[in-house]
Every structure is written in structure tokens, then in C-alpha cells.
């Protein structure tokens, strides 16, 4: 049985559907990346899995049970970190831990929180407020908060897109490391094909809108751990990247689309 399943999910805002007839199925422990341009309703798709937004039709099943609303079993890492600015790093994570594990004693909770702060290498900054942290550090706090909730599935909604290239590369490695240790089921939404290839078991490209849906998934069987510099010279990596990029750009689709896409590219 699939761990997470989306069946004929459709969502529209007013006019044309933002997401149309989306079908997706994940097995337990799988890392799936959904790649697409901005403004294609990627975040809408993620919000539906998280239960923050209801689909117009279709259903989303987690371990066979329909998703009815938001809940801590789906750990959502927000695109814009969403840390509470009046709480320190430790307090932000503690709030989540307290909500998810109400039975813990204060000492247990402190240890639990400290463990996840250490996991994202922020022990030295535990008492700082979010505004005293860099963008990359904030996103690490956000990741730690989500991991500390021990969700059944991790939803990463363009978690790294607001960061500079170097910080982004560092965090990609950290996410990869954490995933290989925990083997959680992960859905990553990203606008970077390279990021998807580096991290995922399977990449799902989004076709062009309106009425955008998911393209055919591409299995990535590059050996792990993947080294970003070595990957660039790997023929298989190049082939996969070309394949996904082509799907994204919509070659072989309507000629009109190809033309407009070319115009944008140049």
C-alpha cells in the first residue's frame, strides 16, 4: 500500500484550475521531489497535503486515511521559515514539541529540543531570537522544529529557495544527511532540477499551466551519498537533467507553448 496517495486532486481559485487532476503515490521512506516553475501552484499542492487548504475534488490519503485538516503527523517546513519572532530558537522548537508530546516532563522536553537543535548544528544559537539569525540559520531552525515533531512524512515547500547558492548547497547536504539517517518519507517541492536530482529517489516534473498537472515521474537511481561536484560529470546525471528539463519546458507539447517558452528563455 502506498504511504501517501493523491487521487484526482483538483484545486482552482476562481477561474482555471491551478492544479488539475493530480495523481501521486509515495511508498514509505521514499524521497520524492516535485519540480516546477514558480506560480504553478506548487505551494497550493503542498498546502493541500498539509491539510491547510482543501482540494475542490479528489482525495489525499496518508497511510490509507483521508487527510481532513492540518496536523503534526505531516511535518511542513514552510518556504518562509514561519518562526515565531518573539520566541528564541529553543522556545520555537519547544512550543512544537510540547504540542506534539504533551506527556513529556520538562527535562525530557529540554533534552528532546536540544537534540534536534544539535542536529542542525545550532546549539550555540539556541537562546537567540529569529531576527538575530541569518536566513540559512532560520531555515535550519524550521527544519529542526519539524523534525522534532517526529512527523510521519516531511513536506518541504521550497525550503531553500530564499537562500544564497552557498548556503543552499550546505543545507542540501544537511537535509540529505538527515534523510539518510532517518529514512523518513519526504515530499520536496523545488524550482531547481539539480536540487531534485541531488536529493530525491524520484522526480516529478510539473507540466505547464493552466490546468497544470504532474508529468511522468523520473526515477533517479544515482548511487548515494551523492557528491555534487562528481555528479556534474556523471553521464547518467546529465541524461536525467536533460530529460527533466525537457519535460519542464514542454518540448513536444503544443507549438504555441514552445514558442512562448523560448521567448521567455531568451
Amino acid at each position: 500500500m502506498s504511504f501517501l496517495e493523491l487521487r484526482h486532486v483538483t484545486k482552482s481559485f476562481g477561474g482555471a484550475p491551478v492544479r488539475h487532476d493530480v495523481n501521486l503515490s509515495l511508498i514509505e521512506g521514499e524521497f520524492v521531489a516535485i519540480v516546477g516553475y514558480s506560480g504553478q501552484g506548487k505551494t497550493t499542492l503542498m498546502s493541500m497535503i498539509a491539510g491547510l487548504v482543501k482540494p475542490d475534488s479528489g482525495e489525499i490519503l496518508l497511510q490509507g486515511k483521508p487527510v481532513e485538516g492540518p496536523g503534526p503527523d505531516r511535518g511542513l517546513v514552510f518556504q518562509n521559515y514561519s518562526l515565531l519572532p518573539w520566541l528564541t530558537v529553543e522556545e520555537n522548537i519547544s512550543l512544537a514539541v510540547e504540542a506534539v508530546f504533551p506527556g513529556q516532563s520538562a527535562a525530557e522536553r529540554a533534552a528532546h529540543v536540544a537534540k534536534y537543535i544539535a542536529m542542525v548544528k545550532l546549539s550555540h544559537a539556541a537562546d537567540r531570537l529569529p531576527r538575530q539569525l541569518s536566513g540559512g540559520m532560520r531555515q535550519r531552525v524550521s527544519v529542526a522544529r519539524t523534525l522534532a515533531m517526529d512527523p510521519r512524512i516531511l513536506l518541504l515547500d521550497e525550503p531553500l529557495s530564499a537562500l544564497d547558492a552557498l548556503t543552499r548547497a550546505n543545507l542540501q547536504d544537511e537535509i540529505s544527511e538527515i534523510w539518510q539517517r532517518d529514512k523518513k518519507t519526504v515530499v520536496l517541492i523545488t524550482n531547481s532540477v539539480d536540487e531534485a536530482l541531488l536529493l530525491a529517489d524520484r522526480v516529478v516534473p510539473l507540466t505547464l499551466g493552466p490546468g497544470a498537472t504532474l508529468g511522468a515521474p523520473v526515477t533517479i537511481d544515482l548511487p548515494r551519498p551523492r557528491d555534487r561536484t562528481a555528479l556534474n560529470h556523471e553521464p547518467e546525471f546529465k541524461r536525467l537533467r536533460a530529460q527533466i528539463t525537457e519535460t519542464l519546458l514542454g518540448y513536444g507539447a503544443k507549438a504555441r507553448q514552445t514558442v512562448s517558452r523560448k521567448l521567455i528563455l531568451h
Binding site: L52, G71, L76, F78, S82, L84, P85, W86, A99
Partner: protein, 264 residues
Amino acid sequence: MNAKLHNFFLNTLCLAVGVLLSLGFWSLLSATVAKDLPTPAATWEVAKPYILEPFAKRGEQDQGILRLVGYSLALVAKGYAIALIVGTPIGFLLGLSKGFARVFDPIVQVLRPVSPLAWLPLGMVLFLGTGRQALENGALFTIAICAMWPTVLNTAVGVRAIPQDYLNVGRVLKLSRVKMLFKIMVPATLPYMFTGFRLSLGIAWLVIVAAEMLTGRTGVGSFLWNEYNNANYGNIIFSILTIGFIGFILDRLMSVAESRFKTA
């Protein structure tokens, strides 16, 4: 450190220049067009006993200036506390519930511009039953109702401005309604609430002077009015300066508190 010191001296110098220019203009006015305006020196002469013995109590109205200010501040504190306790929840309801806002927002908008002088008689009528306390309670009522509005409106704006992301965090964590309110909504609204609190305190201080003048309750306001009746015009100016100075200090204190709660 040197730059800081330099800045301090510059600021002090500018302040001194401002004060001297104002005093000069004042002297000029009382020497030329406004013959009845007491000169700065004459004002100092009449005000001296109140300043040099700020806590003296020579009679019901004849008291040191800080003692008078103390009476006024005590009443302001009570009225202000009522304003915050009543105003903050109303602001939250206005911000949270569209229905509540539709019903009560027009009423708030109509009551808000009403002058304290108009509320005071109603307040005294309302508390007629309390006998000798009627004046004081009426004044309290007036302070509370006039000072409430900035708190109500700013809190409502603050609640509406809570970023959806913070609320989503609460939803994902499935926080209870109480926790959602106290762990997310109240802290997220605090900066707005404090702006409201600061403006409310300013109004409360404005109202107390008017209320004391009309009710004759001992304080800076009634002191001012009595000195007018006693033809000690210098003390009118002295009272005005005192009221302004105290108001300024209150505002400074509140903005320190406000900046402490600024987030992000």
C-alpha cells in the same frame, strides 16, 4: 564613545537654545502685545513655593506640585487600567470576528470622536447613587471611555495583521483555542497593542485635566482653574508646563515599553 559624548553635548546645546529662544519670545510677548501675560520671572515667583516644596500640604488646594500631580496620576492610573482591561478584549473581538466588527465597528466610530467634556456629565449622572464619590467615579468613567478607543482600534488592526504563517504554525501543531490565543495571537499583536496603550495613556492624561477642572477634584487640573479664579495667572502657565512635562515623561516611558515588545 567620543562621538556619543559629542552627540550628547550637541543635543544639550540645541535644547538650551530652544528653551532660551522660547523664553525670549515669551518675554517679548508679555512686554509688548500681551500685557496681561505674566513674564517668565513673574511666573517663577508665583510658582516657587509649589516647586521648592513639591510635597508640601498647606491646604486643600494649596499643595506642592508633585503632590498635586500625584493625585492626578492616581486617578489616571485607575481610569487607564479600566480602559485597557475593557478595551483590549473588545479590540480582539473586533479583529477576530467579522460579524462582531460589522455590528460594533460603526458604533465605535461614532462614539470615538466624542469629547471628554461631553462624557463627563453623563458619567456623573450615572454615578449619582454613589454620593460623595460621584464626582470621582464620573471622572473615572470619562477617562476610561475616552482613553479606550486607541487601544480598541490598534488591537483590532494588530489582530487582523497577524501573518497567516503564524496561524498556520498553530494549525499544524493543532494548538487548542486558548493556546492559539495566548501563544500566538497575543504575542503577535503585542506591538500594535502597545502602540494603542501609548496613545491611550496620552488621552487619559488629557482627560484628567479637563475632568478635574469641571469636578473640582484636587489635582493639577483643578489647581490650574483655582489659580485662574485667584488671579494668579503665572500659575496657569506653570500648570500648563507641568502638565506638558508629565505627559512627555509618560509618553517616553510607554515608548520604551513599546520598543521592548517590538518583534521582527
